[in-house]
Amino acid sequence: MTADATPALVEDKQRPAAGPRARKSSAYPRYLAGKVAGAAVSLLAVLVTSFFLFRLIPGDPVKTMTGGRQVSAEQLAAYRDEFGLDLPLWRQFTDYCGKALTGDFGTSYQFRAPVVDKITEALPNTLLLTGTAFVLYTALGIFLGTRSAWRHGKLGDRVNTGLALTLYSIPSFWLGLLLIIVLSVGIGPLPGMFPTGGMESGGEEGFAYVLDVAHHLVLPVVTLVAVEYGQTLLVTRSALLDEMGSDYLTTARAKGLRDDLVRRRHAVPNALLPTVTLIFINLGRTVAGVILVETVFSWPGLGGLFYQALSVPDLPLVQGLFFVFAAAVILMNTLADLVYPLLDPRVAR
């Protein structure tokens, strides 16, 4: 499996491709410009998709909007005019793109509020959830992954990887539901210890508010960490094992360096490279990936909003959210591309 020109998006159990190592040395600025331009093209492509994909949902948005209430043809026309739906498709498209470039995604059908407002309302909640989970599962994954590689083949390693793989195979929503039954509803003598859903009890202020949110955060974060840390662990571990077989390590050992020093000084940092790529990609992915956890735990974030918008369908909101989800991935992938050569001197220098 030869490395490809850009770090491939890590899908599931796939080990990340090794990054832009294959590139011949070129100046970093040029590399940077190329990557940024590529990202811009991707963003545009996403913008186009977000417009056309959801037009495929059968039906007349205006009739959906008025939800079966009695409306005359004139009123329907007025609605079409208000939302610009009477224009030919290409005009709607150019209008959409033009506005989107200035950060305006139109007005939500169901909430009658600017899409951007709805998104900025929910975004911090999603970031809070994913951010916290992300820090924890990355730390846990790297920590356990390194340990596992050091003792590879031993019982500890086997238990470690086995557990990680098992948790990784569990559907996150199912784990969430079980956690609710056991830790929130309470089972047998066990009392319910955590809130069943939502982000706050409402009405708390100051430090009490922070604690309240933290309390609500526990179960969703535990769920996310449990299903996500495995990937980081496995990538860290296999990268480390990969690295430990390298020639330069044999050389280092031959020079008389002690084994653990060799590992720590040489192997770990290099092995972390693919992990770093993974970290960035995960960060972009989790924003979209929390839909399930947000649904199970009634978390007022982007995922819930997306699902709600799709069922209407609230086209402007769906488009805006889709763009945000994809943009998060693109942004993080690009960041990974940009950071990678800084970490690995073999690339782009």
Binding site: Q14, L177, A288
Partner: protein, 304 residues
């Protein structure tokens, strides 16, 4: 590969022999992967169970009008896993549900890998503008959040098994395409491809006779891994209410359980079995996939 036989074997027989030998070698190496063996055993059991489900539970297990029990009974001798909200036997439903879950997982993975292989091989073989366009499309699919795109597709189409298969297949192929293309590029630099071209082998001949057999192992590993995530994806879509409500699948059972209010009623026996079934099968496929991968490419060291 011994050639001690007296008569010179035909090239075709030689090729067959070589292939048989490599399969045997593969199996020998696979056998040394303990986790892979566990996975394979679990899978074989599941597959047998699914194939012979009509014998074990009978096809009327999903009938609501002939449900044998009362709604939502907890586990008993008669119903080892209790009953669902229609009074159907949950054990039977979980066994029956394996058919749909496995089928959807397999079909989606095959679709995904087929698209990925097709695009990967052609993009690797044809280069030029075609490859550029294809790889741009692949890149673009890569940045699409898979779940979001699958949900969107499932919403756009009507609710059926085909929809689920397509939604999963269409959103998960890009990784395969990339891997296959890289492998194709590597294969095509080998001298015998040049020789084949010189001998007048057309594009189709080269791709189907030389490239494809060489990327097949990779495709196999990839399929196994993707089935695992396809089964999870099927459960996810069903759970979000985007599956066909009239067929019994594991994800659908979880969705039913939630809709019936099993979570707050504390009816864990309704929720636990389908979830475990999903996890076991997904894990089994992952283990097999990793084993295959490490046999084919020991340097990966995934399961050493």
């Amino acid at each position: 590969m011994t050639t001690s036989t007296g008569t010179a074997p035909s090239p075709r027989a030689l090729a067959r022999q070589r292939r048989r030998a490599s399969v045997a070698r593969f199996w020998r190496q696979y056998r040394s992967e303990r986790a892979g063996l566990y996975g394979l055993t679990a899978l074989s059991l599941c597959a047998l169970l699914a194939l012979f489900a009509p014998v074990f539970v009978g096809s009327d297990v999903s009938s609501v009008t002939e449900a044998p029990g009362r709604p939502m009974q907890s586990p008993s001798a008669e119903f080892p896993l209790g009953t669902d909200q229609f009074g159907r036997d949950l054990l039977g439903l979980v066994i029956w549900g394996s058919r749909v879950s496995l089928l959807v997982g397999l079909l989606a993975a095959v679709l995904s890998v087929a698209i990925g292989t097709l695009i990967g091989v052609t993009a690797g073989h044809f280069k030029g503008w075609y490859a550029t366009v294809m790889m741009r499309i692949t890149d673009w699919f890569l940045v699409m959040p898979t779940l979001v795109l699958a949900i969107a597709l499932a919403t756009v189409m009507s609710r059926s098994l085909t929809t689920t298969v397509v939604a999963i297949g269409v959103t998960t192929w890009p990784t395969t395409a990339r891997l296959v293309r890289a492998q194709t590029l590597a294969v095509e630099t080998r001298p015998y491809i040049e020789r084949a071209q010189a001998l007048g082998g057309g594009h189709w001949h080269i791709m189907s006779r030389h490239v494809l057999p060489n990327v097949m192992p990779l495709v196999l590993a990839q399929t196994t891994l993707i089935i695992s995530s396809a089964i999870l994806a099927e459960a996810t879509l069903a759970f979000l209410g985007l599956g066909d409500p009239t067929v019994v699948s594991w994800g659908g059972l979880l969705q039913d359980a939630r809709e019936a209010g099993a979570v707050s009623a504390g009816d864990w026996w309704y929720l636990v079995p389908p979830g475990i079934a999903i996890a076991v099968v997904a894990l089994a496929f992952t283990l097999c996939g990793r084993a295959v991968e490490s046999v084919l490419n020991p340097r990966l060291g995934v399961s050493r």
